[in-house]
Each structure stands twice: as C-alpha cells, then as structure tokens.
C-alpha cells in the first residue's frame, strides 16, 4: 500500500486548487501566477538537468558523446515516470521479446503525450496553424458512432498506457517490496492531469473561448482571468504546473529525501 502516500499528495494538490479557486476565488493566482512560475522553474530546472546529464556521464568525455533519442528519454524521464518498470526491463535483458514490447509501449506513450501537447497549442496560438487543426481532425475521426462528444484517439491510448504503467508498477512493488513511498508522485500527477483534462472534454465542459483567452493572455502578457469556469480547469492547470515543477526539481537529489531511495529502486 505504499503508493497510497503518493496518491494522498496528489489528492491534496487537487484539493488545494479546488479550495483556492472554488472557495477563496484566487483565480489570478491559479490561472496566471502559478503557470508562469511553473514555466520559469521548469526552464531553469530542465536546463540544469541537461547540464547534469553531461556531468554524470563518465563514459563520454565532452565532445565525443552520442545521445540517441532513446538514451535521452531514458535519462530525462525514466527516473521520474517509470522507476519501477525499468527495473523489470533489466531483468529480462537476455530475451529480446519483452524488451521490444516495452520500447514499443514507451514510444506509443510518449507519442500520444506529444500529440496531446501539440493539440494544446491551439489554445496558445492565434490564428491556429492549419497543421494543428489537421492533427485535431485526424485525432478525432472516431466521433462518428460515439454518442454526444468528440473522442480523441490519443486520449484513449494515453490513459490506457498510463493505467498499465501505474498498475504494473504497483504490482511489481508488491512483488519486490522495493519502491519508496513517494516515488509514485509523478505518475499520479500525470494521471491526475490527464483525468482532469479528459473530464473537461467529455463531462464537465468549460467554455473553450474563455480558456483560449486565458491562454492567449499568458503568451501575449495581456492577462485575462476567466471567472465563470469550473474549478476543474484550475485543478488541471495546477496539476500540470506541479508536474513541471517536479520534473525540474527531481534531479537535484539533496532537495528531496525520497530521491535517493527512488534511485536505489532503479538499481534494483
């Protein structure tokens, strides 16, 4: 039951966003201040991470390094998202089958995430570039036949992949009893972000025109604060911001007491 503490952290963050907007009406804080802050922290932290990536690479003297996309993915995000699964992969190194399946899964997961991120650009670019609109059209072709809403294929793929990852890592931590208690925080943050976004598309809808005005306000530095949108929008923004901050910070070991044990789990 070690994942429960991670779940509680993410539920607490959700509650903070709901309380801040739904009760305290701090729209500007959660709609404008926190996204800007998270972006700045992410920019600095991620740059730092890229520098550390090189520092921690004993086999490569500067200038002769080869970083493939695969290695970069592994180094930058695996520690954060798939700590427990990576351990599994190393065990089955001899057989090529599972490892290839694993990599196919990873590419599908990050591919879906990338398309979802690109789709979000329609909220930050005016006019919307035609390739983004085209992507959206292709992604939502399943609409026909489903009731009452657009369906994005990438949403389904992403949430299924994420569910598999979460369940597998919980399962493997039961089997091995290794994972540290807070190492699920990024996975649950990602799950929370995805779920809050999906709820907004399919269930508690928000006015996309106001949401885009908020987004355009951020990128043009002419802030607009939508006050008649549901708290779900701000919960989504807050969870994504938290995830950005986590991704920026998680390489700085001394700052987080769970970081060391997380790495131990990786080494197996």
């Amino acid at each position: 039951m070690k994942f429960l503490s991670s779940l509680l952290v993410v539920l607490a963050l959700t509650f903070i966003a709901w309380f801040g907007v739904g009760v305290l009406k701090l729209y500007a804080v959660f709609g404008i201040g926190i996204p800007y802050l998270a972006l700045i922290i992410f920019a600095i932290g991620f740059t730092n991470r890229l520098l550390q990536l090189e520092q921690n690479n004993p086999e490569n003297s500067p200038g002769t390094k080869k970083l493939t996309a695969r290695r970069l993915l592994e180094l930058l995000y695996f520690r954060s998202f798939f700590g427990n699964i990576k351990m599994k992969r190393q065990e089955s190194k001899e057989e090529s089958g599972p490892s290839n399946w694993f990599w196919a899964g990873v590419y599908i997961f990050f591919g879906a995430l990338l398309i979802i991120l690109i789709r979000h650009l329609r909220l930050f670019l005016n006019p919307v570039p035609s390739f983004i609109q085209g992507l959206e059209t292709i992604d939502s072709f399943l609409t026909i036949g489903f009731p009452h809403n657009v369906i994005y294929i990438t949403d389904i793929v992403f949430i299924v992949a994420l569910a598999v990852i979460v369940l597998r890592s919980i399962y493997s931590s039961f089997m091995k009893n290794t994972s540290a208690s807070l190492s699920y925080v990024p996975l649950f943050l990602l799950l929370g972000s995805a779920l809050s976004g999906i709820i907004m598309v399919y269930y508690w809808r928000v006015d996309i025109v106001s949401v885009k005005e908020l987004g355009m306000g951020l990128v043009t530095f002419r802030p607009f604060i939508p006050t008649n949108e549901g708290s779900i929008l701000f919960i989504h923004i807050f969870l994504v911001s938290s995830l950005l901050v986590y991704l920026a910070m998680s390489s700085r070991k001394p700052m987080y007491q769970w970081s060391t044990s997380e790495n131990e789990a990786n080494i197996g």
């Binding site: 890229l50 885009k212 355009m216």
Partner: protein
C-alpha cells in the same frame, strides 16, 4: 566544468521550443471573438434567449447538437423540451440556423478562434 557544444545546442533548442508560443504572439493583442447576434429573427425577439441558458450553450452546444442528432436519427424524436419547459423542433437547419442565420458571423467566429472545423456542412445546409 567544460560542456560540449551539443549540450548548449540542446539547451538552446529546448528554450526556443518552450518560448515559441510567446515568440509567435509578440506584439499581438488578446482579442476574443464576438459572435454576432444581428439576425432578423433574433432582432425581432422580445426576450433574447437561446434554446438553453447562454452559459450552458457556450459550454455544451456541441453535446446538445449530438444529442439532438441521436434523438432524431435513432429515437425518431422530433421535439426537444428545454430546461424552461419550452418546446423546440429538433433541427440543426430549421431551429439553430433559423435564429442564427448568420453562420459565418456567428458559429464560425468562435470555431475559427478555437481551431474547430465543422464537418456538418458536408451534408447539412447552412
């Protein structure tokens, strides 16, 4: 610590990607679309009301339309009773577009802004 050129290039690409929406919007104003309500039918209305409350329409009009389509095509139901108890004929062309006869100045204003392209007009008449 000496870093290789590649890592600086990587950092540069990362930063440019991150701030690209800001760069693309340099000097632009933040103007939302204003869908026009200036049609003969709406101008003639004493109380200017949509099928459902305006806030609901802004968020849910697509769900309402999909629901209408299913009610009409699958259930054969032709009448929609709204939350105020008023009755409307279920029809995209004869109900929505009777009041909102200015599709370009109304529906499209928002849809272009939000990057939505309706495929409805491949079959339905504007």
């Amino acid at each position: 610590m000496i870093y290789s050129k590649k890592i600086y290039l990587g950092i540069l690409i990362f930063i440019i990607l991150l701030i690209s929406p800001f760069l693309a919007s340099l000097g632009k104003a933040n103007v939302p679309p204003v869908p026009s309500l200036d049609t003969p039918v709406i101008n003639a209305m004493a109380v200017k009301q949509c099928v459902e409350p305006t806030e609901y329409m802004k968020d849910y009009h697509m769900q309402l339309l999909y629901k209408w389509r299913d009610e009409y095509v699958r259930e054969g139901n032709m009448i929609y009773v709204n939350s105020r108890g008023q009755k409307y004929t279920i029809s995209l062309e004869k109900t929505c577009l009777k009041c909102h006869s200015n599709e370009e100045q109304f529906c499209q204003k928002c849809h272009t802004y939000a990057g939505v392209k309706l495929y409805c007009w491949e079959c339905h008449q504007k």
